[in-house]
Symmetry: C2
Subunit: 210 residues, 2 copies
DNA sequence: TCAGAGTCTGCACGATCGGTCAGACTCCGG
DNA sequence: CCGGAGTCTGACCGATCGTGCAGACTCTGA
């Protein structure tokens, strides 16, 4: 059925001498394919066969680069989780008036760079809580919520934070299916709009008592 | 392994004479169990065995009440989709100044009543698009987006709508894992907060130019 | 030239998947 | 007392799941 050698002799038959950019090609291709599947069909619903097919490899290759399906998930979302932890640490260490605004900007950047990964641990954080990386992510999100709401724990603050982060994650992944493909904003347009609107959501329009 | 008759003689050995409330028990129990699984682990990641276990039945019973896994999904989310279509129809037929506000209120009610179902077709609407009910849901969401944004199709409006609906759906399902269980707001508190905050998000604080 | 490391693959395995089917049980009208 | 409808189940099927493993291929340093 399948062509047995089409990959080996694929692109170039030249003496090759290390191709400059694509070091560690396969591992990254597999990881990216896995991330997209995890975000759209869920971790449990994604099979190694589908990941391998999407990336153009054999199922065995996935297990060669990542020892198990769970290890692949860990490798795929770890950078996003670490980014979250870093942003949080910087925020908690700093002080000053522009802190909250800067936190929002950094989180929006993280969302844009790691949209699939964030979507994965936000929407599947419960069912995958036994995985160490997911547990770290859950802790980070909870700490972020506390940081954003400061000491005020009102229902309003919780709702505003939940809508902001969950909404942004939705918008950048699943939400794309509900927009016209032609009208899809660029990442820069998105970044600008998200920064403004999320900051606005988290700051109740400076009407203190009302 | 399993007790063979524990269900048949379970609670009451009395003459029984139709128990008043629980008509069509099994089918509804299975549907509810399925809905929760679909929302947390995803449709593809949910097995009929898990659904049956969670509801306390055998796998065969799921297939008896619903002919297939897909039919079960359809039955589970159809009420939510129909509710969406109804709300949309009322909005499009009506006119007047309070229309948008009323639309928001009705959608929030729908979200609270069918939170798992809405979460399912919002986050898995793409991968399940071949199912008729999901296709209907996708159309309804797209029409709702147009209705909320009126004729204005700016990036801001799209972002505001996406954050509002995706954020609310996240908050009511997956987001609950990031809140203290003791602090979990009641549905009425939620309804009130969601109505106010979502209306605020969709209406850019009447600062036209700024 | 050759040994070794690194990469990728096909094949095989036990488990579990969605789905079929025949039977067992309860209930009820005749 | 009986027969049929409704409900629930275990046994079974072929396909696919995640994973282990041995081999084939390419490259590189000695």
């Amino acid at each position: 059925m399948q062509t047995l050698t089409d990959r080996s002799i694929s692109v170039d038959g030249m003496p090759t001498e290390v191709t400059p950019v694509p070091r560690a090609r396969a591992a990254d291709e597999l990881k990216q394919a896995a991330l997209e599947q995890f975000a759209t069909v869920g971790f449990a619903g994604t099979s190694l066969q589908h990941i391998a097919d999407a990336a153009g490899y054999a199922k065995s290759s996935v297990l060669y680069h990542y020892g198990s399906k769970e290890a692949l998930l860990e490798a795929a979302i770890e950078p996003a989780v670490e980014g979250f932890e870093d942003v949080l640490e910087v925020f908690l260490a700093g002080r000053g008036s522009g802190r909250r605004r800067e936190l929002v900007d950094r989180v929006v950047d993280l969302l844009l760079e790691h949209r699939e990964a964030v979507h994965v641990f936000l929407t599947q954080g419960q069912s995958l809580a036994e995985l160490p990386v997911i547990a770290r992510a859950n802790v980070a999100v909870r700490r972020l919520a506390s940081a954003v709401c400061e000491e005020r724990e009102s229902v309003d603050d919780q709702v505003r934070f939940g809508i902001a982060i969950g909404g942004a994650a939705f918008l950048l992944t699943a939400g794309r299916n509900f927009a016209d493909e032609s009208t899809l904003p660029s990442d820069d347009e998105m970044r600008d709009a998200l920064r403004r609107i999320i900051a606005e959501i988290l700051t109740p329009a400076r009407t203190p008592s009302n």
